[in-house]
Each structure stands twice: as C-alpha cells, then as structure tokens.
C-alpha cells in the first residue's frame, strides 16, 4: 500500500469520486487557483476544470447554500470550509436547511452534500480559529458526523461521505494533515460509517477517542503500559452514527473507561458516551466513567496557557490513574 499524507489521502478520495461520478464537484474558498489553503485540493482545478472546482468568494452562507441547493437539485457537492470556525457564519443554511430538508419533505427531497474542512485546536491560533465544535453538529438530527484519525480512514470515510445520500459533516484535523500512513489505492476501498476501530488492544482501561485525540491516547497508553497499566484505545471515527456496540464490548473486557475529546468538556460528546455507558453498560463498570476534555475557556494565545487548555497525554494518564490505582 502506498504511504501518503492525510491531506493527500483526502485528495485521492475526491479525485477518485470525481472520476467515478460526474455529479461530484468541489467548492470553497481558495480550493482552485490557490490550490487549497492546506493543499488538500491541490491539482484538482487543472484536472477537472472550473465548473467542478469552484473558487468562491469569502461567503460561508452562500457556500453552504450553494452546496445545499445543488444537492437538493441532484448534484453531489463537496463544500470546503477554510476552517470549521468560519462555518459558524453558515449555521442557518447548515442546520435549518441542509440537515432538515429530507425530514421536512418526508424524503421527497434529499441533500447529499459533504461539508468538510479542518477543525481542532493548536498552533497558537487563539480564540476564534482554534476550537472543536463537533458536538454542535452531532446534536442536530439529520447530519452524519465524521472525524478521521488515520490517512486510510481519511480516504475511506470521505469516499463513503461523498456517496452517502445525507448531509455529512466531515471534520479533518489541521494537526493531522501532514501525518503519513498506508492508504489503499484501490478505488473501491471505502470505510463504512458507524464502525469504531480498536487502535490498540488492552485489558485494564478503555480509552474512547476520535480524531487527533486518538494519537494522544495511544501515546498515553504506551507510557501507562510501561508502568503496568494496559489500555485499549477505541477510535470512534464517526460520532453519528455512533458505534456503541464496540465501545460496550471493550468496556465489558476492561470494566474501566475514560472518554477523551478535544472540544470543551462542558456538554461535550464525551458526556453523551458516558451517559449511554451508564444506561447500557452500568453492570460492566468497576469504576466511575472519567472524561477528559478541553478547558472550558475561549482558547488563549499564550503558549503556556494554550497548552493548559488543550487536553494532553498527562491529563489522560491522570484520568486513567484515578480509576486504576
């Protein structure tokens, strides 16, 4: 299998799907002539032309409307937001239009659009550019919510998203774009939604995470292994649909669980996982469910404060220790 970057895997997914299906097109700010702010769409304009790789003005509402309306009229748009922070301007088009038209019409009109772009924290980007908002979308019925961790998943999940007939919120992580991994070049390779992946097997504690936090959990698990604690790491891959079965099966083996998220802790996705575990797997638990998440503050600029606000390995390790020692 070829080795490639996460960003290249995303590009390969779009290229293959655009070759396969003439109704697929890409739109967004700087996706064409500029070759993509993070180079994800590099080369697509020269390959597919300006009708299928559409440079837009900085108009997130209209970008979301362009994708929503085109999907309602039979195309399969991939709308790129330069970052998910900028998509906040477009919430009405996303939540009140894209997510609802299928239900409001009893399925007579559908919206097979993919909304994608980088999310996440870090790099001293401060309050307005550095945040994770996946729970906003996971909270809204009608969206499927996808956050890949590996390059292979980036490709396979994006292909599934493009082929899906519902609107998909596809959140990449800017901190993962340069990560390399083996990626199948088979154009029929896809990764189904709603199936979590066990990234590391373990016997003492289950760590549930997604996106960049899977990597931090793996590193924390290595350190914990050295001190005799064996952690299993579950990568959710999609928040909606959510694979509770894999989570519960893991907890049934370890009886202890820490749910890790990058977004603000308060009312975050980890709380949903924890609540469902309490409902559905209470008897499996030998210790309280722990959550690790971002500090409930707008992201500060100063490096020291920023590091204190983003959940790291130490916080994960501390959470694990609090339920095994």
């Amino acid at each position: 299998m070829p080795l490639m970057r996460y960003s290249e895997a995303l590009r390969l997914a779009m290229t293959e799907e655009m070759e396969r299906d003439p109704t697929v097109f890409v739109c967004g700010e700087e996706v064409g002539q500029y070759q993509g702010t993070f180079r994800v769409t590099e080369g697509l304009l020269s390959r597919f032309g300006p009708m299928r790789v559409v440079d837009t003005p900085i108009s997130e509402i209209a970008i979301a409307g362009l994708a929503t309306g085109a999907a309602m009229a039979g195309l399969r748009p991939i709308a790129e937001f330069m970052t998910w922070s900028f998509a906040l301007s477009a919430m009405d088009q996303l939540v009140n239009h894209a997510a609802k038209i299928t239900y409001m019409s009893s399925g007579r009109v559908t919206c097979p659009a993919v909304f994608r772009g980088p999310a996440g924290t870090g790099n001293q980007l401060s309050a307005q550019h550095s945040q994770s908002l996946e729970s906003w979308y996971a909270h809204t019925p009608g969206f499927k919510v996808v956050l890949p961790f590996t390059p292979a998943d980036a490709k396979g999940l994006l292909k599934t998203a493009i082929r899906d007939n519902s609107p998909v919120i596809f959140m990449e992580h800017a901190g993962l774009y340069a990560q390399r991994g083996e990626v199948p070049d088979d154009p029929d390779f896809t990764v189904p939604f709603g199936r979590a992946e066990i990234r590391r097997e373990g016997t003492d504690v289950t760590l549930v995470a997604y996106s960049l936090m899977v990597g931090k959990c793996l590193k924390a698990a290595e350190k914990l292994e050295a001190s005799g604690v064996s952690c299993e790491v579950v990568d959710l891959r999609t928040l909606v649909p959510l694979d509770m079965e894999t989570i519960i099966a893991s907890v049934a083996r370890t009886h202890r669980v820490v749910v890790v998220q990058e977004e603000w802790l308060n009312v975050g996705f980890a709380a949903e996982v924890a609540a469902r575990l309490a409902d559905e797997a209470f008897d499996e638990l030998d210790a309280p469910i722990r959550r690790v998440g971002g500090a409930d503050v707008p992201m500060p600029y100063a490096r020291e404060l920023e590091q204190a606000a983003i959940p790291g390995e130490d916080a994960i390790i501390a959470a694990v220790r609090s339920i095994v020692d």
Binding site: F25, M51, V54, T56, P57, S59, E60, I61, A62, A64, G65, L66, A67, T68, G69, A70, A71, M72, A73, G74, L75, P77, D92, Q93, N96, H97, I101, T102, Y103, M104, S105, S106, G107, R108, V109, T110, C111, P112, P141, G142, K144, D164, N165, S166
Partner: protein, 336 residues
C-alpha cells in the same frame, strides 16, 4: 392597469383563454386562503398560517410561464406557489392538516409545502433562507447545461439579511439562471420598508451585485406577466441572474396572530382600504367583464367549481389518516 392594456393583451397572442386561466388561478388562490383561515379557526390547521391575499399576481403571472425542469423556491407564505406549481389542492390541504397524504407527508406543514415532482423545492421558514439555496439550484442547472431556470421568491424583510447579499453576489458573479422575485409588500411582519433600510430602492441592491433588476407593479397582472416573461427568457437564454422587485400588498396580517387589532400598531385601515382598491383579482375580473371575456354567469360558475374543488380537498384531508407514529424517526436521514 388600463382597460386598453388588458384589451390589447387579451386580443394579442396571449388570448382571452390565457387571461381567463390566470383569473381562475388567482380566484382559486384567494378562496383557498380564505378556506384555510376557516379551518385554522376550527383548530384543524396548526402552527403558523401566512396568507397570500392581495399578492396573487406575483405567482399567477409568473409560475405558469415555467417549463418542465424549472425549479421554484419560496418563503413560508407558500400556498399560492404550490397551487401554481401544480400541487393538488388535496395534497396541500392534507399537508396543512398534518396528514400522511400531504404533499410533505405531514412533516412540513404550512411553511414547508414541497412537491419536487412539479419542480417545487418548497417553502422556507427562515427569512432570506431560500436565497442561498437558490444559488445551488441555479448552479446545478448551469452545471448540467440544462435550459432551465430557478425561480426564487423572498420578501422585503429578506433584503436586510446578510446571507441574501452573499447569495445575490454569487448569483451575479457566476451568471446563474435564477429569477429572483422580491415580494415587496411593504412590511416585514410589522416593520415597514422605510423603518428597516437606509436604501429603500431595492433594485439598486440587486444591481450592486451585477444582477439585472427592475421594479414592477405587482398589482398589475399584465405588467407582472410581461416583466416575468422577459426575465425568465433572459435567465434561460443568456444564463444570467434576474431580479424583479414586485410592489404589492398583503390584505391580511402577517400571520393569523397578526389580527386587525395587532395591525393597528403598524398600518392604518385607510391604507389597507386604499390598497384594496388595487386588488389584482377584482381588477382583472372587472376588466375581463368590461372586455366581454367574462360574464357574471361565467364568474359564478367558476366560483362554484372552485368551491367544489376546495370542499373536496377539505373532505379528503379530514378523512386522511395522520402520519403513523412509526414514521417519527423515518426520513431523518435519506436512504442509502
């Protein structure tokens, strides 16, 4: 609208039959809205109910000019648009009564009538909401190289929504086959145009985005029809966005809650009465009668036929079952 202009048009290529069909459509819209109000008061219709009384020419003079493959988007004041698109009165009434046989399966209601089989992509409950969506619909038409247009209705209040300007800019920039119809009835709920914008000349706002724009007397069915015909042809042939500001007036409140007492806060009975002098339905009837194209007997027969259509729709809706409870979780996601 002068007698001469009606007579000239009626005698022209459009013909008497076309004008009579327009009149019949407008009469159906008016009587349908009146029946909805009765059913609302009976508690058979829930939610909000926004009537089109007084604005009928904006739909009756435009939508019948569309061809197969064209699309219509509009606001929550959408009953007339559905009728003109060809959605059956039965399916509309059933939707308003929340029945499984409704055009949206009972999940949309008054504000979200929808009928894609007839090109009607639906009523939108958010002020300005359909305008960004229209960009995508227009783009899809152009992408496929189809000779179609997207008609997008919205109100004067929407002109102050940021997303509308983002969308108009994009429609102008990309040269999309969209005809925007601004239903300028002078009020965004209870706030007049004068109280809501520093620039009440709406065409300037469209022209600022590179869109062809003109103002039309929306109470004059012939003026509406002519302007729409030209705009639709330009959008279709030249593949560029068009904008028609149609000046009109709603004879009733914003919604049913905006009753006569409430309306006193923002408009006078004299003003309403003065606009009713320009009622496009009555004017067209009088002029057809004066021209000899419609007799009182014809008119009564038409009223009677429309009454029967509406009674049939009501009976159908009342006898239809509500959506089954099992359907609560259906259609959150599309199949596949």
């Amino acid at each position: 609208m002068s007698i001469q202009s009606v007579a000239a048009s009626a005698a022209s290529d459009q013909g008497d039959a076309d004008l009579l069909a327009t009149y019949r459509l407008m009469l159906l819209m008016r009587r349908f809205e009146e029946s909805l109000y009765r059913k609302y008061r009976e508690g058979k219709i829930g939610g909000y109910l926004h009537r089109y009384d007084g604005q009928e020419a904006l739909v009756a003079g435009v939508i019948p000019q569309l061809i197969k493959g064209d699309y219509v988007l509009c606001t929550y004041r959408d009953h007339a648009h559905a009728i003109a698109c060809g959605t059956s009165p039965r399916a509309i009434m059933a939707e308003l009564m929340g029945k499984a046989t409704g055009c949206a399966g009972g999940k949309g209601g008054s504000m979200h009538l929808i009928d894609p089989a007839n090109g009607f992509l639906g009523g939108d409950g958010i002020v300005g909401g359909p305008v960004p969506v229209s960009v995508g619909v227009g783009f899809a038409i152009k992408y496929r190289g189809d000779k179609n247009v997207c008609l997008c209705y919205f109100g004067d209040g929407a002109m102050n929504q940021g997303g509308v300007h983002e969308a108009l800019n994009m429609a102008g920039l990309y040269g999309l086959p969209i005809v925007y119809i601004l239903e300028n009835n002078g009020y965004a709920m209870g706030t007049s145009v004068e109280r809501s914008t520093g620039q009440p000349e709406m065409v300037l706002k469209a022209q600022a985005h590179g869109i062809d724009a003109e103002t039309v007397d929306g109470m004059d069915i012939l003026a509406v029809r002519d302007a729409a015909g030209r705009a639709i042809a330009r959008a279709r042939e030249e593949v560029r966005a068009q904008f028609l500001e149609m000046r009109t007036y709603r004879f009733v409140g914003h919604g049913v809650a905006d009753n006569a007492q409430q309306q006193r806060f923002y408009r006078t009975e004299d003003e309403i009465a003065a606009w009713k002098e320009h009622d496009p339905l009555i004017k067209l009837r009088n002029l057809l009668v004066a021209h000899g194209a419609l007799t009182d007997a014809d008119d009564e027969a038409m009223e009677s036929e429309i009454r029967a259509t509406i009674e049939d729709a009501i009976r159908f809706a009342e006898e239809s079952p509500p959506p089954p409870l099992e359907s609560l979780y259906e259609h959150v996601y599309a199949e596949g």
